[in-house]
Amino acid sequence: MKVKVLYFASIREKLGRDAEELDLPADVATIAALRSHLRTRGGAWADALAEGRLLRAAVNQDMAQPAAAIKAGDEVAFFPPVTGG
């Protein structure tokens, strides 16, 4: 299942990456599952996406909860709590 993943702000800097195309195993079907899947890369990934960290996510440019489903073609984003305004 192919998806696009984006990273913003401090997450982007820690990972040294702002976007990537991924082909996910079928069992990686939620935001939470994708987050643990990416942590298995270790190093900066294990750290920046660690369970204890306050992270926000979006699916197709809408804020999404950890349990939100991901399907082929989706644009998923990980970022810290927002600080605009």
Partner: protein, 141 residues
């Protein structure tokens, strides 16, 4: 209805005028957020930003009488005293104008994907989200 996410500065007076040209409008409430002492760079999520703001505006319109409104948020490098964001809401009644304007600002703060990185003498650092901002948004539930 105007929503703009842009690096350029804006003219609040002009935006207020633009949403006031209608004899059913009796009240325009507005807000401007400014950079305080520390220069910063604002990063955002192009596409999602406009979409998130539009959703907040729609929610405000479902709750109060909003005849017209303008929301402008800048990104990029900003200096102390620069304008960051403006929200202006035109309504028939002042209670609706104030409530919708404050509601939009409170939700911008927690729902619109912008991130501030401050440039202090010690180097650059990302601004942490404030619990007070979550609280401000929660009181509208």
């Amino acid at each position: 209805m105007k929503i703009s996410v842009q690096p350029e500065d804006f003219d609040v007076g002009l935006e207020i005028k633009n949403i006031s040209r209608n004899n059913s409008i009796g009240a325009v409430a507005s807000f401007v957020g400014l950079v305080r002492d520390v220069a910063m760079t604002l990063e955002h999520y192009p596409g999602m930003t406009e979409r998130a703001i539009a959703k907040i505006v729609d929610e405000a319109k479902s709750r109060w009488q909003v005849i017209d409104c303008a929301v402008i948020h800048r990104y990029g490098a900003l200096q102390p005293n620069d304008q960051i964001v403006m929200v202006a809401v035109a309504s028939g009644h002042r209670g609706d104008a104030f409530a919708a304007c404050e509601f939009i600002m409170d939700f911008l703060k927690t729902q619109a994907p912008f991130w501030k990185k401050e440039q202090t003498a010690e180097g650059a650092s990302w601004v942490e989200a404030k619990a007070a901002d979550d609280k401000a948004a929660e009181r509208w539930k």
